[in-house]
Symmetry: C2
Subunit: 287 residues, 2 copies
């Protein structure tokens, strides 16, 4: 059982519409509030060698990234922290606080709990003008498919490339970039936390059209053999870049670095170099 | 180390003002949004014998109770669920959904994670007119101290009184009552999740004045010897009643059942029958 299959259980109970974006969407006058929550914990997410400060930073960053993926401006964060060792709390809070401050958000509340392993759930609230909100749904045939930065670096560190350590330990959410893309009117967007391949399949789930990318165009982590680097960029998790689609006439979008990696197609499938792309990447698994 | 001491670490980093109420407070035009998050998990909160449905119900209820404690109307809930057995998800979601529906809220998002034990973090958003918001701060000398319902029932079940099982397994957040009390203009309020004694000390932390209660006036769980019943009502956790203070001339408040258990005093202390009340109740502890 994997988390994307399990999500269908949730859809059956709370409704499919509430499960198709990086954040929940709440109308708010001319604006829209977006709300998102993320659970991270020691055995899966906080690797040996991470400081408490980095754990806190990461916990805030993943949530701010979801807000960025909607084109919204992060405003507030709540942090529920389950601790096996209470001594870790100060470092975790400080890391989260620094990540929030850097990205214009404020920690306004939370909860403290004793737990069998360090567990942090961050909940974020962002705001965006209704007309600049970007959802996963909205891609149109012939739109360009684009990605910010370089995916695969976090996974590269896990495979022994120590130069990519900070990509995993201190992810930088694309908060400014998300808002620039929203104002530029990109047609669909999400963050790439589980790899480019799974993100394209998530976009497929939300759209009628399909997605065709070219392997030669995908930015790859440096200092890594060619084939492995491509594998990492497509299937590695733990990066927090933005993937988006955009009408050709809007490209190039000023004030932001991104790479065009393919285009939206009419057929409802995900292709790489003309072949079906394997649906694989970071997923939670249960026996 | 206990959670209330540890909270001071959080106050040092994010500011004391963000830590003094059941919910965080966000200005929202003539209204105020309140936001709160709660972490519950198997080894501490979900007792043997609870169904998945009851686990979900409880997870939503504790958060809705925090919103009720501010006089606000619950609107939205996010649920982050960490699962050791994926099969539990459907029951948990259904229980949370039913609790939300009963109390006028909607589940609009969440996260699914694999975890070493079942862990549910519910985050709730409520709305209230600014003039009807009630905080922990605001009690004035000579105000009445009042409590809804009967505290100690959840703890009574833990001590072998099986007739009180539903009090623990299916707590009913005082959502309607909280809004009635807010509109009635009570001066301070919070929910009593960790017992009356600790709640009075939480109110003490937020106010300049003090609190004097009379043991004979405190409602007690039924079918239990007198002394034990008093102990449970004062120090037992797991109930989700509301404790509030209210100017004498506003009493009685129509449309709601509550009991006057004492009055607000000038001295900054918590008294029972004229003696200092022991500061004890449900707290998370770390070695």
């Amino acid at each position: 059982m994997d988390d994307r299959t399990l999500l269908k259980t949730v859809m059956d109970i709370v409704g499919r519409d509430h499960c198709l974006d990086d954040c929940a969407i709440i109308p708010f006058g001319d604006q829209v509030m977006v709300l998102t929550t993320d659970m991270l914990h020691a055995s899966t997410d906080f690797l040996g060698g991470m400081t408490d400060w980095q754990i806190g930073w990461m916990s805030a960053a993943v949530t701010l990234s979801d807000i960025a993926g909607m084109g919204a401006k992060p405003q507030y964060l709540l942090l529920a922290v389950g601790l096996d060792h209470w001594q870790q709390l100060a470092g975790v809070m400080q890391g989260a606080q620094n990540c929030c401050k850097k990205n214009g958000a404020t920690i306004i509340g939370g909860d403290i709990d004793r737990h069998c392993e360090l567990t942090v759930v961050s909940t974020g609230l962002g705001i965006v003008e209704k007309k600049y909100l970007v959802r996963r749904k909205g891609a149109k045939p012939d739109d360009l498919i684009c990605v910010t930065g370089t995916c695969g670096q976090a996974q590269a560190f896990l495979e022994g490339y120590s130069q990519h350590k900070l990509a995993l330990f201190e992810p930088q959410p694309r908060v400014e970039e998300g808002q620039i893309l929203g104002r530029a009117g990109v047609s669909a967007m999400m963050d790439v936390s589980d790899g480019i391949a799974l993100s394209l399949y998530d976009l497929l789930e939300a759209n009628e059209c399909g997605f065709a990318i070219e392997s030669s165009k995908i930015p790859r982590p440096t200092g890594i053999p060619e084939l492995q680097a491509k594998e990492l960029a497509l299937f590695g998790g733990g990066d927090y870049e933005l993937i988006f689609t955009c009408a050709k006439e809007k490209h190039p979008i000023m004030g932001i670095q991104y790479t065009v990696i393919g285009k939206v197609i009419t057929n409802h499938q995900v292709l790489i170099d003309g072949e079906i792309l394997e649906k694989r990447g970071y997923q939670h698994q249960w026996k």
